[in-house]
Structure formats: structure tokens, C-alpha cells
Amino acid sequence: MERIKEHPILGTCEPGKIVHFTCDGKTLEGYEGEPIASALRVNGIMVHRYTSKRHEPRGVFCAIGRCTDCVMIVDGVPNVRTCITPLKEGMKVETQYGVSRKGDVK
């Protein structure tokens, strides 16, 4: 999904400082301090996790840290709300399966 560059009311949306992070091992770019979820969305990633019972994909739903649907494993910690966690250089983001990494025993 695209970033908004020029907005009729908000004006020019200044680009942030570019940082690098990985999602499931792939190196991606985003703006420092923006929510991890925003950076993922710009990179075309919508599935943040698969649920434990029905193995269904989930992504951003409320975008303000309430619904907890967008949680992922960030720097090894599961259940991190990516919609309110700021992106930092070198972050390691992984798709969450249930409450674990893919293939990990629950």
C-alpha cells in the first residue's frame, strides 16, 4: 500500500528517516518511529499472524492497540502489538503462529 505524500488538508507528508528491519528473514525498509504495522503495510504485508485454533490469518483491525489482532513476534518477544510499537533499526519481526514461531512446539 502507498504512503500519502500530498494531502489536501494535511499538506506535504514529510518522509521519515529510513531504517532497515527484517520480516521473516527478509530485509525491508520503513520509517523510524512509525508503527511496525505501517511499515509492513507499505511493504505489502497484511498477514501478521495465524491463529492457534483455526489457523486463520489476522492483520491490523483497530490500529490503536486495543484489539490485539496485529500481534507478532518482535525481537523474539511474542504478542507484540505492531500497530502501536514504533519501528527501530535492525528490528526482527516474525509472523506469529498461535503464540509461537512457525514450527515451534506450543
Binding site: R54, C67, D69
Partner: protein, 108 residues
Amino acid sequence: MIDINAKLKEIGPYIPEEDDDLLVCRCEEVTKGEIRKAIHSGLFTIEELRRFLRCGMGLCQGQTCGLLTRRLIAKELGTSVHEIDVATSRAPMRPVLMDEASRDHKGE
């Protein structure tokens, strides 16, 4: 005090509906059918349903499904949603790591 047996008789047995596999609680993945079945087995309050099915007990603590569940109970019992109590509120109000919840600020 509600007479459970009388109420069960009044609302009739659980009859499957076409969309019973629809999720109500997104966090704990509890379906409409599971909740309906539980209601028809005599669990008429959100508190009982939470303990029995874990709906509303996940990470978001029922923020999304609370009202949906109350509406479902009201519909099955043939009453208004205003008659169905909301869930008890308890701390912590937001998901917090056990480690953090037990780490008190030591002061300046």
C-alpha cells in the same frame, strides 16, 4: 433469581443455525454456535460464558466481542440487550507482561 429450568423450557432447545461457525470472540476463537449451545444449556450470563468458553478472556479482554456476546444472549433469551449485564471489569485493563505487572516503580 432466575429459574434456569423454566427459562430453558421457555427458550427451547439449541437448534443449529447456518452461520453457527461464525466467530464472535476473535481472540479466543469462540463461535456463535458454541455460545448459543452454552446458552441453551443454562449459561445466561456473560460471566458464565467467559469461564466456560473463554470468550472475552483473550488478549483484548472482550473489547471487541463483549457487546456481540451480550446481543447474542439477549436474542437467544428473547430479551433486550440492556437486560444482559456487562462483564466484570478487573485490572489489568490492557495486556501487560506478568514481568512488568510485578515490577513496581521504585520512586525518584
